[in-house]
């Protein structure tokens, strides 16, 4: 593939006709490559037929799961302009330079003229009143406040501060209390949805409180071929909890982890900072008991 910029100069913009699943993907791909996209659909919203389906052929995939991320993505993409309730009237020109005439249906509020004054909301006589939410101001309990403010302060001037902030918070609390996330959103200006997506994307983050000792059973290839699965089963058996669950006494959280890079000691599990190499399932009950004893 040529890397010469001249060859791939972006010209003008692209028009995607139809906002179904195919159109949405095309629009996204185009926009991601840096091309301005206009998207025309004759309905009042994009989504097409797929939005009416439960499952799709041949894999029985849930239709909404395929669509929803794209809907969201298109909704907030700065390079995609949606022209709904509209139809293409004519196309003239040739490849590389088309002129398209689009007929846009009238709608209830003229977007062009609306100033967002809210008068229609307050005067609306029907029961479908638009509810504008008051933004609540979040204040943290004193015991959280100082730590979190310090963390925010520390990363204030950084470029792309969100990850370091979340990592530091995670370091202190081991999980993300909901209120703290809301507070971070309020202070940094990142939308809560964005923070939530990040907080749930990485495996090191959790929205639920986790146990004092995190047990990580390595499921790297070297450990796997040396029987790590049996170890995991034994842990499940001994602790009485499943993977990614925490014991009732909040002592242990069981996790399986991708390679921790101690392949020479396979199979390996770590409990907190302690590494147990060449672990055998018969040793597990004693190891767990050791930690339980420490707590008494």
């Amino acid at each position: 593939m040529s890397l010469n910029l001249e060859d791939r100069k972006k010209i003008g913009s692209a028009l995607v006709v139809g906002g179904g699943i195919g159109g949405m993907q095309a629009a996204l791909d185009l926009a991601e490559s840096g091309i301005k996209v206009y998207m025309v659909d004759n309905k009042s919203s994009i989504g097409g037929v797929m939005s009416q389906l439960d499952k799709t052929f041949p894999t029985n995939d849930c239709a909404m799961c395929t669509m929803a991320p794209r809907l969201v993505e298109i909704g907030r993409h700065k390079d995609i302009e949606k022209i709904t309730l509209s139809e293409v009237e004519s196309i003239t020109g040739q490849p590389g330079n088309f002129t398209v005439k689009i007929k846009k249906q009238p709608r209830y509020v003229d977007e062009e003229k609306c100033t967002g004054c809210g008068a229609c909301v307050s005067n609306c006589p029907t029961r479908n009143t638009v509810q504008l939410q008051e933004r609540e101001v979040i204040t943290l309990e004193p015991q959280y406040e100082e730590t979190v403010i310090n963390i925010l302060q520390k990363h204030k001037d950084r470029k792309g501060p969100l990850m370091p902030i979340l990592q530091d918070v995670n370091e202190v609390y081991n999980y993300f209390p909901e209120k703290i996330l809301k507070y971070i959103s309020q202070e940094t200006g990142y939308p809560l949805t964005h923070i939530n997506r990040i907080a749930t994307f990485y495996s090191a983050f959790s929205l639920k409180p986790i146990g004092k000792h995190v047990i990580n059973v390595c499921m790297g290839t070297a450990c796997y071929v040396r029987g790590a699965e049996l170890l995991l089963e034994k842990f499940v058996d001994v602790l009485g909890v499943g993977i990614d669950e925490t014991t009732e006494d909040m002592l242990f959280t069981l996790k399986s982890v991708r390679c921790i890079g101690c392949c020479g000691l396979a199979p390996v599990a770590t409990i907190g900072d302690d590494v147990y190499g060449k672990l055998q399932s018969k040793d597990i009950p004693d190891i767990i008991a050791k930690y339980q004893k420490k707590e008494q």
Partner: protein, 627 residues
């Protein structure tokens, strides 16, 4: 005053050895040395990963160059007294190759080390990674001197181009070309990112490199920054690699103290600094566009290329992303010259490559070998062959993006092209050896499970494709495989390859496709005969106690977690197949002399002699003699 000692003990303090108790050993040694008044003569040096992780905790005694492995605290007093005081090395702690009797005292005699060629890891085990002076003494930061005093950025790029250095992260893109593209961009500022988000299971080259020689990476980053005109750099590291992160932090602050990072470096007027960013456990972040998003604080999902990061990357600016191993090659290329460097390796793949050699192999560890060496040398000479006299089956290279290479391709050279031709890839350098007891279908399932977990979910082909692959593979390993499944896997695999956006999706079917290519019969055995030839897939095997061999010792019976074994002392034990969970505990418990517990699969299960009631153990005396 230069500190001088008669003996230096180079203690490996890489993650593997630390997990094995290296820090306790160091403490014990220091105490014992002090107790005998030898502290003026003997010093303990913490080095980075020595590479021979299977022997850890380990040390090398300088100047005799004697290698001691599997150290324990109990060995220390004897060791200090005999070797360091009286000068009599201890044979018991030396390395003995498996299946041989003769010990090999010297590090240089051990085949594991003999066949290696250290370029990137030239300082491993020789320097203390937490001391910048050690690195400087080994001609460290000479390359910085050279580029600042006598080379223009273009000359640096040209030198790297001539050297033939290709990216060590997996795809093998020529490094010089990447730098050239970034240097030609008009937009500023430019950024440099060192990629140390090493996520392949079974691979830990990057971690060891940073643990043993962090300054080599810093120096390489500096030169890359100088070449492309970037003053701001990031190193993106896995947060799971805490020791490596800590060593990098130390190294960066030492370099800053010496003015080798910061403003106006060595009076040249060039500024350069490095910031560490940690990932939080998402495999896809190793993909360059995801990595950029992660640093920006965005959702770490890949995006469409072009534009390539070298054109538009971090915050829309030209960004070069290099693997840390690639960067560690750069100082050597600059100091010793591109011609010297391109003399190592093959026509298209120059230099050396670090591999982590793991799995069913005698010498587990980290190795650096010249490109073009064949797999046989790596597995049998360096790796010491397969343990317990088992048969070699395949080697998996390139992690979840790579494939399996079967025994008949063992003589193929290791370079970018020939691995690709074999249906695998160089990848970041994990090399997982499998023996006859490894089921390829099961391993493929494992990799797909991994990529399925780690797929970010942005594009359908990867997200749903991996799901469908996993479903079929699970079905096959459960003994519910259907006619046509193999063809379906192939077709689906090719589709995922074509339709995915980033490297993760484009390569995820490789483990399945390559095993289908070389071990199709094993898939068919699972599907058609409901047989797992490697005796791994639980639903296809049975544990069985041979009534002619069982001595009725109760060992397996007592340890069976499912209470599935019936029997009494001196009566032949029987496994109740309805209760058996196939955990394999009985096989482990059965004394090796007896070995009455066996695994069977497929038709063999029907041929077994089934006992209807518990019978006494047959009289053994005569039988033993005739056997």
């Amino acid at each position: 005053m230069v500190e001088k000692r008669r003996i230096e003990l180079m203690l490996c303090a890489g993650t593997g050895c630390v997990a094995g108790g290296a820090f306790q050993i160091i403490e014990g040694l220091e105490k014992e040395i002090a107790a005998r008044g030898l502290e003026k003569e003997v010093s303990v040096v913490q080095t980075g990963c020595n590479g021979f992780c299977g022997q850890g905790p380990l040390m090398v005694v300088i100047p005799d160059n004697i290698f001691y492995g599997w150290l324990t605290l109990d060995d220390i007093p004897h060791l200090v007294e005999e070797h360091f005081l009286k000068g009599r090395p201890i044979e018991k702690l030396m390395f003995t190759p498996p299946e041989e009797k003769e010990v090999l005292p010297m590090l240089s005699d051990i085949p594991f080390f003999k066949k290696q060629l250290l370029v990137v890891l030239r300082n491993k085990g020789i320097i203390d990674p937490e001391k910048i002076d050690d690195y400087i003494a080994r001609d460290g930061y000479v390359a910085i001197e050279k580029v600042l005093t006598s080379m223009s950025p273009d000359e640096v790029i040209e030198e790297v181009k001539i050297s033939g250095l290709r990216g060590r992260g997996g795809a093998g893109f020529p490094t010089g070309v990447k730098w050239k593209i970034a240097s030609q961009q008009k937009k500023t500022p430019k950024y440099l990112i060192a990629n140390c988000d090493e996520g392949d299971p079974g691979a830990y080259m990057d971690r060891s490199l940073i643990e043993s020689d962090p300054h080599a990476v810093i120096e390489g980053m500096f030169i890359a920054g100088y070449a492309i005109g970037s003053s701001e750099a990031f190193i993106y590291m896995r947060t799971e690699y805490q020791l490596a992160v800590d060593r990098m932090k130390t190294a960066i602050s030492q370099a800053r103290e010496y003015g080798l990072l910061g403003k106006d470096i060595l009076g040249s007027g060039f500024d350069f600094d490095i910031e560490i960013r940690e990932g939080s456990g998402a495999f896809v972040c190793g993909e360059e566009t995801s990595l950029i998003h992660s640093i920006e604080g965005d959702i770490p999902e890949p995006r469409q290329r072009p534009p390539f990061p070298a054109q538009e990357g971090l915050w829309g600016c030209p960004t070069v992303i290099n693997n840390v191993e690639t960067l560690a090659n750069v100082p050597v290329i600059i100091t010793r010259g591109a011609d010297w460097y391109s003399g190592i390796g093959t026509e298209t793949s120059k230099g050396t490559k670090i591999f982590s050699l793991v799995g069913k192999i005698n010498n587990t560890g980290l190795i650096e070998v010249p490109m073009g060496i064949n797999l046989r040398d790596v597995i049998y000479d360096i790796g010491g062959g397969i343990p317990d006299g088992k048969e070699f089956k395949a080697v998996q290279t390139g992690g979840p993006s790579g494939g399996c290479i079967p025994a008949d391709l063992l003589d193929a050279p290791i370079d970018f092209e020939s691995l690709q031709k074999a249906g695998s890839m160089m990848g970041s350098g994990g090399m997982i050896v499998m023996d006859e007891d490894t089921c390829v279908v099961d391993v493929s399932k494992f990799f797909i499970q991994f990529t399925n977990d780690e797929s970010c979910g942005k594009c359908v082909a990867c997200r749903d494709g991996s799901e469908a692959l996993l479903e079929v593979l699970t079905r096959i390993t459960n003994g519910e495989g259907r006619e046509g499944d193999v063809e379906f896997l192939e077709e689906l695999g090719e589709t995922i390859k074509d339709a995915s956006m980033c490297g993760l999706g484009q390569t995820l079917p490789n483990p399945v496709l390559s095993t289908l290519r070389y071990f199709r019969d094993e898939y068919e055995a699972h599907i058609k005969e409901k047989r797992c030839p490697a005796l791994v897939c639980r639903n296809l095997i049975q544990y069985y106690i041979d009534p002619d061999k069982c001595i009725g010792c109760l060992k397996c019976l007592k340890n069976c977690p499912a209470n599935a074994i019936l029997g009494e002392l001196k009566y032949v034990h029987i496994i109740d197949q309805d209760k058996c969970t196939k955990c394999g505990q009985c096989l482990e418990e059965c004394p090796p002399k007896v070995s009455a517990v066996i695994k069977v699969t497929g038709n063999d299960m029907d041929d077994l002699k089934q006992l209807s009631e518990i019978i006494p153990v047959p009289k053994k005396k005569k039988k033993k003699k005739t056997e």
